[in-house]
Symmetry: C2
Subunit: 246 residues, 2 copies
């Protein structure tokens, strides 16, 4: 498999030979040291991937030629990580890890105890998107997560539209993971802020029908919680149904 | 519950009133701003925890008075995270997250493709131990993981002494998590380096009887892999056996 992966959102509409934008060109040529003649995989983040030949390795205008193209089929539960916004680098890291783990959507939540000011939101969303792209390149994930603008918890809960909504919590008596019905088409996974949700917020969560699940007996940092919850949800909701008996 | 947690390895041998070392005193008083009269939980990392009153909050010689003490009972599978050493901060972070998730032991592995030079090992081990202590304080975990000095993969495999040895891998046809026999007393969880194990190393792993498990379809960074694997092993090996039916 080619060592290089590069992002081209317009891949499906491009002809046989196409040009990468300046950012991707630089990443491919300067950071990853790809050269003309090397093979690379171009992906559009929407499930299309093409094995390509690098026709011209240029750190502003690289050109690639499609060799073979494939459309990936998305399998399993579409999981939305609904994550209370954390401080700068931690949120960047959560976005990356969620992408590695194949989250379908990332929905940042504004809750009472988030310790972050959401100024310059377009720039933040742009930065998070860049984290998603990087993680797609490194992990081989062909699907860029949908990245939604932060919304207040109340508004998120008022518009819940998932087959299953899970809440990682130390407070409630959790439902064992293996008791969840496997195979929902969509699932939201709600992760609180470092200072946890407030009592009023817990009441809202309760009333919205969110199902409490456990991530163990300790108080986890947001990043540990998000990764654990995504790994567990993926295995218990998806793979559980598909695996053959021993 | 008191907001403050402080580490005192000699807790069990101390009398009713005891003194914290300079490091813990400073952390309690300067970093966490605890004051005389406040309550704090002291723990020894070996399962003993005492609710205490801070008699003297001093940033070098704080003194605490035991109010009530308890011995925790360790439940579930003792999981050893056998982690190929990663670069500086990533390894620190893995050690912290493994502590949050209740790993019994952390065994750094030296494999062919680790991109790290293990110079000044005592200092490194000291730093990792400090990460464990910090994570115990923040997460409420009363058990400090055993922290072993790095060993070559070969030597680790030659002395395997676990009821179950799991290998997180994209290479092999994985055994589904739910097909693992739950409830082993001990389990090792082997996580490779960023560049993966070599073919020869995979052969060694195979011959040692390590069972391949999946963390999904993508190539995960070491930290994502370690957290995912620990969360999954804990849930599938431990909790699965204990949960009542729906």
């Amino acid at each position: 498999m080619p060592r290089f992966r590069t992002y081209c959102p317009s891949l499906a509409a491009e002809g046989e030979t196409f040009q990468l934008d300046a950012f991707e060109s630089r990443h491919l040529v300067t950071t990853n040291r790809a050269r003309s003649g090397d093979e690379a995989i171009a992906f559009d983040g929407k499930g299309m991937e093409c094995a390509c030949r690098i026709v011209e390795a240029d750190n502003r205008n690289s050109r690639l030629k499609k060799l073979t193209c494939a459309r990936l089929v998305r399998k399993g539960t579409k999981i939305t990580l609904a994550q209370a916004v954390t401080k700068g680098k931690t949120m960047d890291s959560i976005v990356r890890r969620a992408t590695e783990l194949g989250a379908f959507r990332i929905q940042p939540l504004i809750s009472r105890r988030i310790q972050v000011r959401l100024k310059n939101l377009p720039r933040k969303l742009d930065k998070w998107k860049q984290q998603c792209i990087e993680a797609c390149k490194q992990s081989g994930n062909g699907w860029l997560p949908h990245l939604s603008a932060p919304v207040p918890l109340e508004r998120f809960l008022a518009n819940l539209d998932f087959d299953l909504t899970l809440l990682a919590s130390l407070r409630e008596r959790p439902t064992p993971w293996q008791n969840l019905d496997p195979g929902p088409a969509t699932c939201a996974l709600i992760i609180g802020p470092e200072g946890d949700f407030s009592t009023e917020e817990y009441e809202l969560l309760h009333n919205s029908g969110a199902v409490g699940v456990s991530l163990g007996d300790h108080i986890l940092r947001s990043e540990t919680a998000a990764v654990s919850a995504l790994a567990l949800a993926t295995q218990f909701l998806d793979y559980q149904t598909k695996s053959p008996p021993a």
